[in-house]
């Protein structure tokens, strides 16, 4: 209505304001004239502003979510053939640590030989492995998350020369001991080291995803 000339408004009033008694609208204050229409304009304007504000806010909030390249970097193919027997390598995927450990036959036997009722978080060693492309298990290669399930510290292992009381890993923050299957045995941690999503691309290469 900004561009409407005065006669236009008069015409608009004459043809559109029939609902109200003419004498009423003449005596009432200008703000009281045509109240429902004014309310409608108020509600419409506020609604449009709120919707507009939301539309502007959404990208501003959403930009803090993981970016495309960050998401794309959330998996990694790792060559496991070079890990020495009895040793481990540690990889970071999206900033999170993972352990890949080439277990000796003694370590495998120790992991497999523990009765389940002695474990705070019962899981068999086989449950913690992922089959090779041909369906067989590869117990020599154990792949776990490198985050202690207590408060998120990174446990030490064979590369740091301390494998704890059970030959697996030891968390120096609050003294959690993990066995050679990465299962919690002693200390404050409530759960076993998590097994990440991974698959064998070939028998010597695993693809770990977050």
């Amino acid at each position: 209505m900004i561009f409407a000339s005065q006669p236009d408004i008069q015409l608009f009033r004459q043809c559109c304001l029939r609902k109200k008694n003419v004498s009423d609208s003449q005596t009432a204050s200008p703000e009281a004239v045509d109240e429902e229409r004014r309310d409608f304009i108020h509600i419409a304007a506020v609604t449009a502003t709120v919707v507009g504000a939301g539309a502007v806010a959404y990208p501003l909030v959403s930009q803090m979510n993981p970016a495309g390249d960050t998401k794309a970097a959330s998996s990694l193919e790792v060559d496991t053939s070079k890990i020495p027997l009895g040793g481990e390598i540690r990889v970071l995927i999206g900033g999170k640590p993972f352990f890949l450990r080439h277990r000796t036959s003694e370590e495998i036997a120790a992991a497999a030989g523990v009765p389940l009722d002695r474990l705070p978080d019962p899981q068999t060693d086989a449950d913690r492995l992922v089959p090779l492309p041909d369906g067989a298990l590869n117990p020599a290669m154990l792949i776990t998350s490198g985050t202690c399930t207590h408060l998120g510290c990174v446990p030490v292992g064979p590369s740091q020369g301390n494998t704890g009381d059970y030959g697996g890993w030891y968390c120096p923050c609050h003294g959690s001991h993990y066995d050679t299957s990465g299962r919690i045995r002693k200390g404050p941690a409530p759960k076993n080291l998590a097994i990440p999503n991974y698959e064998y691309v070939t028998p010597g290469v695993v693809k770990i995803s977050l």
């Binding site: 995927i93 009765p115 002695r118 998120g152 990174v154 923050c173």
Partner: protein, 481 residues
């Protein structure tokens, strides 16, 4: 104070010209020169001015540091070292900024305890108090964000713990965590957003400070008697020169202490681990926040038990945020009509207990929660073994030699065996933290609401000038206490 008439008279032609267009000189004159201020303010009341200086120091040094700092994970740590070694006076600017953060919190805690003691949060100053709480929250957020920027070990792993707190929130916690970090873990993108927000928040603090001063200037200052100004002539003096000089003197003393830290012990309030570059594969053995957040960290860790369906971890987070949220409710929790604790003999004792509790909570926050304060017995050595048949056993020894011999014996039998320290029962930091946390909440939620109804206060003076000059006119001035 509202209702106080402006006494500004523009003298020069330019002042008159400006005053009729933008009366900014008048505003400054009425706010900081001729502002009527109770004549009995003591040195505890100088910390508002000290805090304004702290904010200015942080903003000025911060802007300069940002000219030399690089917010990427590969270069952040090195750029801070470059500031320390190569940038002219970079070491000074960075130490002033780092020590300045600690001094800022030192001053704000004194300022808050002052408000608690003299009842400065009570009507008609509730909004003033609330705005102060908002500033405190913004300060904590700014400090947390800034501590990330040097990209040291404590930066990374401390931030990890704090962001991990959000993971305790049911359903949406993990989503919020990812949103805050901008990825599966703290990375480059997190450092960059922290830098951006660390630069933004001080200006938000400055904005709220303006509101805080505005809300102060409507009812005027509280004062150590807690009695409102009744007669502007007798009860007040102009802000300038009386309090500009008093504040100025306190600021100089404060800056001497500040400079003492900067030049003689710039790192004593920090943590040595933060001079090791951040490494997500190595966790520091003992993750602690900066000293000024320790009491809240202690409250977080004090909650080791579940209540109903709420797990300990979430409960700890609720208590930690609750310990700050309760400050916002304080004006409506304290039921006493008497503002100043000078005239509340019982509340005063509980207040001193509260100050002690807050300080001791800081001690608990800095300590390992499982360390004993009062040992009840001696630590022993425990040998745990498992025989080949799968039978578990435990034997306890006092001397290491006996334990080691027993272990070798068991190992020779083909069992597995290991030695561990069996801690004697003790009164530990965790227990102290739990008691202090209970007191912290009881002070606000039980003691202050109840005491206000039951306590018999001492007689307040009729007016500020009577408290200052004594009741008999012309008699020698008697201190109010």
């Amino acid at each position: 104070m509202s209702g106080h008439e402006s006494t500004y008279t523009p003298n020069s032609g330019f002042e008159k010209w400006l005053d009729s267009r933008l009366p900014i000189v008048r505003l400054a004159h009425d706010s900081f020169v001729d502002f009527p201020t109770p004549k009995n303010l003591n040195y505890w009341y100088t910390f508002g001015g000290i805090l304004a200086v702290c904010l200015a120091i942080q903003i000025i040094t911060g802007i300069v540091l940002a000219m030399h700092y690089t917010a990427t994970v590969d270069e952040a740590f090195a750029s801070v070292e470059r500031i320390m070694r190569d940038v002219p006076f970079g070491w000074l600017l960075r130490y002033v900024h780092a020590v300045g953060a600690s001094m800022f919190f030192l001053a704000v805690y004194v300022h808050m305890f002052r408000g608690l003691y003299y009842g400065s949060y009570k009507a008609p100053r509730e909004v003033l108090w609330l705005l102060g709480c908002v500033i405190f929250l913004l300060m904590m957020a700014t400090a947390f964000l800034g501590y990330m920027l040097p990209w040291g070990q404590m930066s990374l792993h401390g931030a990890n713990v704090i962001i991990g707190l959000f993971g305790a929130i049911p359903l949406v916690g993990e989503g919020i965590q990812t949103w805050l970090m901008g990825g599966p873990s703290i990375g480059n993108q997190t450092l960059q957003r922290f830098f951006s927000l660390h630069y933004l928040l001080p200006f938000m603090i400055a904005g709220v400070v303006i509101l805080h001063i505005w809300a102060l200037h409507v009812p005027g200052n509280n004062n150590p008697t807690g009695v409102e100004v009744k007669d502007v002539e007798k009860d007040t003096v102009p802000f300038h020169p009386y309090y500009t000089v008093k504040d100025g003197f306190a600021i100089v003393l404060f800056l001497i202490i500040f400079a003492g830290f900067v030049f003689y012990a710039p790192n004593v309030l920090g943590h040595a681990d933060n001079y090791i570059e951040a490494n997500p594969l190595v966790t520091p053995a003992h993750i602690v926040p900066e000293w000024y957040l320790l009491p809240f960290y202690a409250i977080l860790r004090a909650i080791t038990f579940d209540i109903g369906p709420i797990q300990a971890k979430l409960l700890g987070v609720i208590f930690m945020f609750g310990s700050i949220a309760v400050l916002f409710a304080l004006p409506w929790l304290d039921t006493s009509k008497v503002k100043s604790m000078r005239y509340r003999p019982v509340a005063k004792q509980f207040f001193l207990g509260f100050v002690a509790a807050a300080l001791l909570l800081g001690w608990c926050g800095a300590s390992n929660p499982d360390d004993p304060i009062i040992p009840l017995g001696e630590d022993k050595l425990q040998v745990s073994y498992t025989t080949e048949a799968g039978v578990d056993g435990v034997a306890v020894f006092e001397a290491y030699d006996d334990a080691a011999a027993f272990r070798s014996e068991k190992l020779a039998e083909g069992s597995t065996a290991s030695i561990a320290i069996k801690k004697a029962s003790a009164f530990r930091f965790i227990h102290l933290a739990q008691i202090l946390t209970a007191y912290y909440f009881a002070y606000f939620l039980i003691i202050l609401p109840y005491l206000g109804l039951r306590e018999t206060p001492k007689d307040e003076p009729d007016a500020i000038h009577k408290a200052v000059l004594g009741s008999a006119h012309g008699a020698a001035a008697v201190p109010a206490e």
